[in-house]
């Protein structure tokens, strides 16, 4: 974690109200892992007292470029769209804990809802680099909001669902998951809270449906890894990247908590990635 002056090199609107910005920030590009985020300062004369957290969308250590993908939802993000190339933004990062891929996992299922693509996008790059197969299930309101496939690596299988049926599967992206649950070794998701809650519920029943629970392989039967540990997460089928309004983003203010099964969890410190078992999901 450090304060970095990231120079904007490219900014473009890739979807209505959605922007993809590239920054030259070698420290971030080489020091970040998929799932981590940066806390960006948005001007100091405009009365915006809080930074804005963004998932690191991609990071290329070779060129020193990191990208952020965001939607203009308020004054902070609008201000960011007005930053010009060559100007430098004050970023604090990389922050939070990354996705943990089990070294034995060969097939990764990434599930993204809307802007949630920014949360899992970098994991696709990392997984392909490591020789894994990746399928991305993506859900959006309509065809106009579907993340452009040319921004994804060629190796990825990309499956789309739209709420209005204007492209791909007509319905929620969560309805596609069961088709892939036998194929996938692990799943990683980012998106609206109800989507993540639904996925968590599906993940709970998966072992029974696939019959793996009865195979009798007592992995870690004696000593369970503590909830939230890297090893426990690595063994978890579903990891989710959560969002919460933030103050400090370093764990100091306790402003960003979500409710976990063992008490409040800081999204900025214990997260933003959690194993699904760590979260106390609302009853569906």
């Amino acid at each position: 974690m450090r304060l970095v002056a990231a120079e904007l090199v490219e900014s473009r609107q890739i979807l209505p109200g959605q922007w993809l910005q590239s920054f030259h920030a070698p420290e971030l590009a080489s020091g970040s892992r998929a799932g981590q985020f940066v806390h960006v300062r948005t001007g100091d004369c405009s009365g915006l007292v809080l930074r804005r957290p963004f998932s690191i969308n991609t990071a290329d250590p070779g060129t020193g470029i990191v990208t952020l993908h965001f939607r203009t939802v308020g004054r902070g993000t609008e201000w960011m769209t007005r930053v010009r190339e060559g100007e430098r933004l004050d970023m604090l990062g990389p922050l939070g804990r990354p996705f943990e891929v089990d070294p034995r996992s060969r097939h990764l299922l990434l599930i993204a809802g809307g802007l949630g693509m920014a949360g899992v996008r970098m994991l696709a790059d990392e997984a392909i680099r490591d020789g894994r197969q990746v399928t991305i299930l993506f859900g959006a309101l309509s065809a106009a909001h579907v993340y452009p496939s040319n921004l994804l690596p060629d190796e990825v299988e990309y499956v789309v669902a739209t709420d209005d049926g204007s492209l791909g599967h007509h319905g929620y992206v969560t309805e596609l998951v069961q088709e892939y649950e036998a194929w996938a070794d692990q799943a990683f998701a980012c998106g609206p809270h109800p989507m993540l809650a639904r996925l968590a519920a599906l993940a709970v029943g998966r072992r029974d449906r696939l019959g793996v629970a009865k195979l009798g392989r007592k992995r870690g039967a004696g000593k369970a890894d503590p909830l939230g540990s890297t090893t426990a997460r690595r063994k978890s089928f579903l990891q989710v990247s959560m969002e919460q309004t933030m103050g400090c983003a370093v764990g100091a203010c306790l402003g960003c908590t979500v409710i976990g099964v063992e008490g409040p969890l800081r999204v900025c410190r214990e997260g933003p990635v959690f194993a699904a078992e760590e979260i106390a999901w609302p009853a569906l």
Binding site: A5, R41, D44, L48, V83, D90, C256
Partner: protein, 410 residues
């Protein structure tokens, strides 16, 4: 530096004369006086780009480049002059027998409770040892899980928070952070909260004598269960009782933090002073509310939240200004500090030190930088201590509390 002719700062000197600001060797020196004589301070000065005041490089961009070092490196001679400037302050002069007690800070810039965790969280980006003192997150007798999320949201020029005093309880705090704090040069003041006088007393008792704990800051903006949920901070007698009880329980320097959510803060401040507090901190957050995006409920999980940030600075200034006229113990100002001018404003209204809170979230290096900037500002003004900046804006009259100017309450 020879102070120029001083005309009317007498009351300021009397008010702070019994307060030990600085080291003993400094005390014997001539106390710098407030330079109010005409022409002593050029009014234009504050707006001129000061040679000595470190500035942030903007590099022609709209955005301040905060990765830059906090100041252009001064020359050796300038550095030596800067080092001679005395920014030290004792927040508990009454405790200050030579061998024990007292709460002497290297500089008067503290970090506010709840915004800097336990001092370790920002360690990778901030040199915490250079902060005047750290007020840690509110600590209670038993662990608390805090309020349901969401807990923070931005507001115009500020933010609302409703953390709900999430903390692991005093024993865990002592066990986990005491050893770390003990190794630090920067004093750590433990912010204490409770729902009954017994809670406060017990927490204070457990903190008493713990190495690494330099003092206690009582957060009395908590519901008093014994008094039907009314806050200690809004009731003069409750504030007096809790302060006196904690005073009896510990020899630690005792700071009491005022709430702004009261009709008149002065009787409460006076009661706290009489009950034996070493210093008063003002202010805590203002009660506020935000509405959810779909307008079907309040946004925060706790419904209400505390407003902080630049938006509350005028309220904090008013309260510091009022309290400074009725108490003679040191006042630590809190509320919306984001730059050196804010610090100077609070000093002028009678504070001897300031805490930085919400501004840290945007600018983690700010508390350290403000110390440097205050030092540079003193050098530029030809002062060898910042003491003469204190209380300059207070009414030039001693004795009875002012009835002028402070009363505007629509």
């Amino acid at each position: 530096m020879t102070p120029k002719k001083a005309k009317s700062p007498k009351q300021v000197l009397i008010r702070f004369g019994d307060m030990r600001v600085g080291t003993d060797s400094n005390r014997s020196k001539r106390t710098p006086t407030v330079r109010k004589a005409k022409g002593a301070i050029e009014p234009a000065d504050r707006f001129k780009a000061p040679a000595g005041r470190p500035r942030v490089e903007t590099g022609g961009s709209a955005v301040a480049d905060l990765g830059a070092p906090t100041a252009a490196r001064p020359t050796l001679a300038v550095q030596a002059a800067l080092d001679r400037i005395d920014l030290s302050v004792d927040l508990a002069p009454a405790r200050g027998a030579p061998d024990h007690g007292g709460l002497v800070l290297d500089n008067p810039i503290l970090v506010a409770s709840g915004t800097f965790g336990y001092g370790v969280e920002y360690g990778e980006v901030v040199d915490v040892q250079r902060i005047g003192a750290i007020c840690c997150k509110g600590t209670t007798l038993r662990p608390r899980a805090g309020n349901p999320p969401p807990r923070v949201t931005e507001t115009p020029g500020g933010m609302l928070n409703a953390i709900g005093l999430q903390n692991p309880g005093v024993d865990a705090v002592i066990e986990k952070y005491g050893p770390i704090w003990q190794g630090w040069k920067v004093p750590v003041i433990v912010n204490v909260a409770g729902e009954s006088i017994e809670d406060y007393v017990e927490v204070a008792r457990r903190l008493d004598g713990v190495p690494g704990v330099a003092g206690i800051e009582l957060n009395i903006s908590c519901p008093n269960v014994g008094k039907g949920g009314l806050q200690f901070a809004i009731d003069r007698d409750a504030a007096r009782a809790v302060t006196a009880a904690v005073r009896r329980a510990t020899d630690l320097p005792l700071l009491v933090k005022l709430s702004p959510n009261v009709t008149d803060v002065r009787p409460i401040a006076k009661a706290i002073e009489e009950a034996g507090a070493d210093a008063i901190c003002a202010i805590n957050t203002l009660s506020g509310l935000a509405v959810s995006a779909d307008r079907t409920r309040a946004f925060l999980g706790n419904t209400y939240g505390g407003l902080s940030g630049p938006a509350i600075k005028p309220v904090a200034l008013r309260i510091v200004y009022e309290v400074a006229q009725v108490v003679s113990i040191p006042i630590v100002a809190i509320g919306g500090v984001t730059n050196l001018d804010d610090v100077l404003d609070f000093l002028a209204c009678g504070a001897v030190a300031v805490q930085v809170g919400t501004a840290i979230f945007a600018d983690p290096e700010l508390p350290v930088r403000l110390g440097d900037e205050l030092r540079a500002d003193c050098l530029r003004r030809g002062l060898d201590s910042y003491r003469s900046l204190i209380g300059t804006a207070l009414p030039k009259r001693t004795g009875a509390p002012s009835a002028k100017g402070a009363e505007y309450r629509p």
